[in-house]
Amino acid sequence: MFYREAGQFKTTYKADQAIFPIFQDRMAIAIYLLIAFVAIPVFGNDFFITSMMIPFLIFSLAAIGLNILVGYTGQISLGTGAFMGVGAYACYKLTTIFPDINIIVLIISSGFFSAVIGMLFGLPSLRIKGFYLVVTTLAAQFFLEWCFIRIPWLYNYNDSGAIEVPQREVFGIIATGASATPTTRYLIVLAIVVVMTWIASNIIHGRIGRAWMMIRDMDIAAELMGIRPLNAKLSAFAVSSFYCGVAGAMMVFFWLGAAEVESFDINHSFLILFMVVIGGLGSLVGSFLGAAFIWILPVILRAIPRTFGLDINAATIEHVNFMIIGGLIIFFLIVEPHGLARLWGLAKQKLRVWPFPY
């Protein structure tokens, strides 16, 4: 009734090819952004912002990064955790070497280090595919984890082997370290995620993204049509690792405050891969939905018994939580193997013809 495109005429090719062709969609995006930029900082409490929104946004960005590789280019990777680590350690080294440079600039530039490492480990993808590629990216994961432990220069010879975030200011406001307010950190993370999502969307809908998708759908046909697999695959690895690296740097600087190598272990690679699979391969919305499902849902489930004053053991809650999340993952994948993004699309389609479906 309210969500339909009747009467919205497209008079230019540009309007016809817009990502959000329907006026209501554009309004919805504006409302989401308004909620994210205004309502949440004003009304959200510290716990909601630091333990739910900040990690959710950071994991969404990492999921977008992995989605570029897995969902759009069809190259499976299990090295996401390590690539996030490269970004984090690079940013840490950069800010200790250049303490006066704006931390946001350093966070973005740490993505380039990650991109180079990602390209390096992406080289085998030119010759191998599928499960064999998984093994080489797994090697990247283990090798980089080893580096984070065994090269003390990376953590400035800190006794505990952890990287601790120094205090940095952005335009006179404390942005990192323990004294930074959750709202400041949230807004910086949000701004970076929004801008980078917008850039990702543009890359994907442009020439480069189409080349990736051709490689994914049929690499031989793509080659015959003039797509160079070398460029397409390595650029996918580079862009993907760039996004993961920025996400990793933000994870340490704006969320955790200090990190050991365990923050970048193989479990995180899996976690983000699950976000991508459950959210929907080859979908930006899916990256956000998947991150919300994997990260926010357990936090809410943990809070429910306490909210209703039920006195349940913390461990029992945790066990029940594992079971519910596991069950829901199976449920959603049976109902819609293409992930939450596809469900989202179906819901929108149904809504278009509501209340008079044909």
Binding site: D159, P166, A258, I304
Partner: protein, 434 residues
């Protein structure tokens, strides 16, 4: 369709989740307990969580709380995972949390910088960042009764008393995380001053149940003594492997996280002779522990389902020791502020002023349970000693008198480490102690 239902449910939960924080009662002492009853380290986490909550329940039942105010212990499951630990911290800190006992070095490292900002002290009992012992530099961090560094020096002192350490080769096998790496700089320094050589054997977390290659190296290196900084399943595996290469058990000494009943029970007789450091009493032969039986377990008041056999275990008793120090600090804070319900800042003062003397321990029904601790502004580790215990094949036996750490050697090193920690933190708040 169900998509919308789920989103609705999520939205409802979010709104109600946002109100969680107001749900605590005003007239209680709120103590969050970061426990881990799940995950690979649950074997150690369960007795620790039980001991802490049982002792506090006992105080509630027997004395009506501390200073007439009931204690509320709320557990939050961390799974020994730093990220979940921070999440637990964020979700509980606004309920007027008095003190955090992170029960994990990784989580401690995350919380130490947050403590001064949120004005809630972090009490990492015998673990965490050794440098927090320097009270002037770390007003909000505490690690009574002693630090990893002090412990290591005491262990070396024990080795020295058993035939000298000079010219010997000491093997150091450790869990390769922040916890195991923490004593390394000290080991390096002491090896020079005490004149022994070191062989290091790092065990990564995922290899902890598969240490045959590490112990092959041990056999090759032939160290005279082995020191272990292990946790969880690593400990029993290491002892079994040591037995396999016929390493003399009475020359193999674990730190106080590598000497629990849970570690040695699966090893049994072949672990006979294995040594470990400890600082809290063994067994149930203390009036206060007996009170836990009468007031908590027999009365069915245990908020957790504590196994009766578990009471008196090394880790259970250590958690009781942790709870005793917290309770004493609360009492000291109540006395000095005159308030019954205190906050984190008062608690910090309490942690700097309590005096757990031998007489006081006797009064508490814990005579000889732990070394007396006198808190001070300057010294946040209390200089407590350790003792050495030995596994007799089925139980632990205390075999040494309290060994005091080499404070005069350790203290300057701790101060150096503390200065290094705060060097790149321009806004770090220090304090001056008179």
């Amino acid at each position: 369709m169900f998509k919308k239902l789920i989103f609705g449910a999520v939205a409802v939960a979010m709104v109600s989740g946002a109100q969680v924080n107001n749900a605590y009662a005003e007239d209680t002492l709120y103590l969050p307990s970061l426990s881990y009853r799940t995950g690979p380290y649950a074997g150690g986490g369960v007795p620790i969580a039980n001991g802490f909550s049982d002792y506090m329940t006992m105080l509630n039942e027997r004395d009506g709380g501390i200073g007439g105010v009931k204690v509320v212990v709320e557990e939050c499951e961390t799974g020994y995972n730093s990220q979940k630990g921070v999440e637990c911290y964020e979700s509980t800190k606004s309920k007027n949390a008095l003190v955090y006992n992170p029960m994990s070095t990784g989580i401690t490292l995350q919380l130490v910088p947050k403590a001064p900002v949120d004005q809630i002290p972090v009490f990492s009992m015998g673990y965490g960042l050794s440098a927090t012992a320097v009270g002037e530099k770390f007003p909000w961090g505490f690690n009574y009764p002693t630090t990893y560094w002090s412990q290591l020096s005491a262990i070396l002192k024990y080795i020295d008393s058993k035939g000298g350490v000079k010219g010997k080769k000491i093997g150091y096998i450790y869990l390769d995380v922040g916890y195991g790496r923490e004593p390394l700089p000290l080991l390096e320094k002491l090896s020079k001053s005490m004149g022994f050589s070191i062989a290091r054997f790092p065990v990564a977390g995922k290899e902890m149940q598969n240490q045959s290659s590490h112990w092959l190296n041990v056999r090759k290196e032939k160290p005279d003594w082995m020191i272990m900084w292990g946790w969880g399943a690593m400990n029993s595996t290491a002892i079994k492997e040591a037995a396999k290469i016929r390493f003399p058990m009475d020359h193999f000494i674990g730190n106080w996280w590598a000497g629990a009943d849970a570690d040695l029970a699966p090893v049994g007789k072949i672990g006979k002779g294995y040594l470990a450091a400890n600082f809290s009493g063994i067994g149930t032969d203390f009036p206060a522990i007996k009170d836990i039986f009468t007031h908590v377990l027999d009365a069915g008041k245990s908020t957790q389902t504590t196994d009766r056999d578990q009471v008196g275990d090394v880790l259970y008793n250590r958690a009781v020791a942790n709870a005793v120090i917290v309770a004493e600090a609360i009492m000291a804070a109540q006395k000095s502020t005159g308030k019954k319900v205190i906050n984190g800042a008062d608690m910090r003062l309490g942690l700097e002023t309590f005096n757990l003397s031998a007489d006081r321990l006797k009064e508490l029904g814990l005579e000889g349970f732990m070394a007396p601790i006198k808190a001070s502004c300057k010294d946040h580790e209390g200089g407590g000693g350790i003792f050495v215990q030995q596994w007799n094949g089925s139980a632990w036996e205390k075999i040494s008198e309290p060994i005091s750490p080499e404070t005069d050697v350790i203290r300057p090193l701790l101060e150096e480490a503390a200065a290094k920690y705060i060097a790149d933190k321009p806004d770090w708040k220090t304090q001056t102690c008179s």
